[in-house]
């Protein structure tokens, strides 16, 4: 059975679309990276508080 997606035209991005997608990806990458660092630091602080109160 043929895959219907094979019959769809290839989507070509305009330079503007490509540039904006790259900018979105970069912003998302930086945001997620920042959140990883933040949550890691928060975990350390909360663990430290637990240990301190034991």
């Amino acid at each position: 059975m043929a895959n219907p997606a094979e019959n769809e035209p290839v989507r070509m991005m305009t330079p503007e679309q490509a540039r904006s997608r790259r900018a979105r990806n970069l912003a998302l990458c930086l945001t997620i990276g920042g959140l990883v660092v933040l949550f890691y630091a928060v975990t350390l602080v909360k663990l430290g508080m637990r240990i301190g109160s034991m």
Binding site: V10, M12, Q17, S20, L26, A27, V42, K46
Partner: protein, 314 residues
């Protein structure tokens, strides 16, 4: 919600590929409103008793700000049809076609969930519940219901904008107290004269898009009277943090001067009703009201931050 702009003008195979920039998504968060939320929530955080680790305080503040921004994104998703027809809002990302309604909705819902869960984990679930309630109140009660239904929309809806100090206090303590509710009252009573001053000037636009703001629903005269009444109510409430002992004498003096200025400018709006000078008087009150709120909450923040920073330095 009838507005749609899914890149419909882009032909053929390139349709539906987003051209949204990161700054468009940032604009969805209503950054100017967020700056006020950061300030008022920080005041709520700093008046809380006890010691909160600065990193936890920062993260709680971030979650509250993002929650407020998320409700702004949901507001822009729902109100895109109105925004497209008003000069003040037609360049917003959704009506301008830079972000699709679907993207705005997904962005708002994702950030809402993320901010509430983050605040629950980092601080406590009372604060998370209050933040969820704030988002719900702004996005559903105000945006979807009150805004297009009653001229009291911004009076009742103002509760959402007034809640951040209460959320922040709950994040720091896990409990409630009278002090954050005093800050709530200041913002709540400040909201009608602030927004109605702008609505007096933009009255025709609100009427054209069918939003029943006080000036176009009840008339400019009634609006001017209510602006004056709310300004008179605001002045003593603004002084309350000093009278109740959680703000300094400097705050007390500034809040008295600010309260008198608010009343004076509201009296000016009440008296000057000509088409030529009435708008100027209203815009002056609008500007003074922003200055008033930033001065009061800025002072509370600075007074609490100075000793904290001094402790860190020495």
């Amino acid at each position: 919600m009838s507005y749609a702009s899914e890149n419909a003008d882009v032909p053929g195979a390139t349709a539906r590929i987003s051209v949204a920039e990161p700054r468009d998504f940032f604009a969805l968060l209503k950054p100017r409103v967020m700056s006020l939320v950061v300030l008022t929530a920080l005041a709520g955080l700093l008046i809380a008793p006890g010691h909160l680790h600065p990193l936890l305080g920062f993260t709680a503040l971030l979650a509250i700000s993002i929650g407020a921004g998320a409700s702004g994104a949901l507001n822009m998703w729902y109100d895109a049809d109105i925004d497209a027809r008003m000069t003040r809002t037609r360049t917003r990302p959704v009506p301008a076609g830079r972000i699709t309604p679907g993207e705005a909705l997904a962005f708002g819902l994702t950030l809402s969930g993320f901010s509430v869960v983050t605040l629950g984990i980092v601080a406590n679930w009372l604060a998370a519940f209050l933040l969820a309630f704030t988002i719900f109140f702004y996005a559903v009660i105000y945006t979807m219901w009150l805004k297009r239904w009653t001229p009291q929309n911004i009076v009742i809806g103002g509760a959402a904008g007034a809640l951040p100090p209460v959320v922040a206090y709950a994040a720091a303590t896990g409990t409630m107290a009278i002090e954050p509710w005093v800050l709530f009252a200041i913002i709540f009573i400040w909201t009608p004269p602030h927004f109605w001053a702008l609505a007096l000037v933009k009255s025709a636009e609100y009427a054209r898009v069918g939003v029943p703001m006080m000036p176009n629903a009840k008339g400019p005269d009634r609006t001017r009277t209510e602006i004056l009444v709310y300004s008179i109510l605001l002045a003593p409430i603004g002084v309350a943090p000093w009278l109740m002992g959680f703000a300094s004498l400097v705050y007390g003096v500034v809040s008295i001067i600010g309260g008198v200025a608010m009343i004076a400018f509201a009296v000016n709006v009440y008296r000057v009703r000509s088409a030529e000078h009435g708008d100027k008087a209203a815009m002056k009150l609008f500007g003074v009201s922003i200055l008033y709120l930033f001065a009061l909450f800025g002072l509370i923040v600075v007074e609490r931050l100075i000793p904290f920073v001094m402790r860190l330095i020495w």
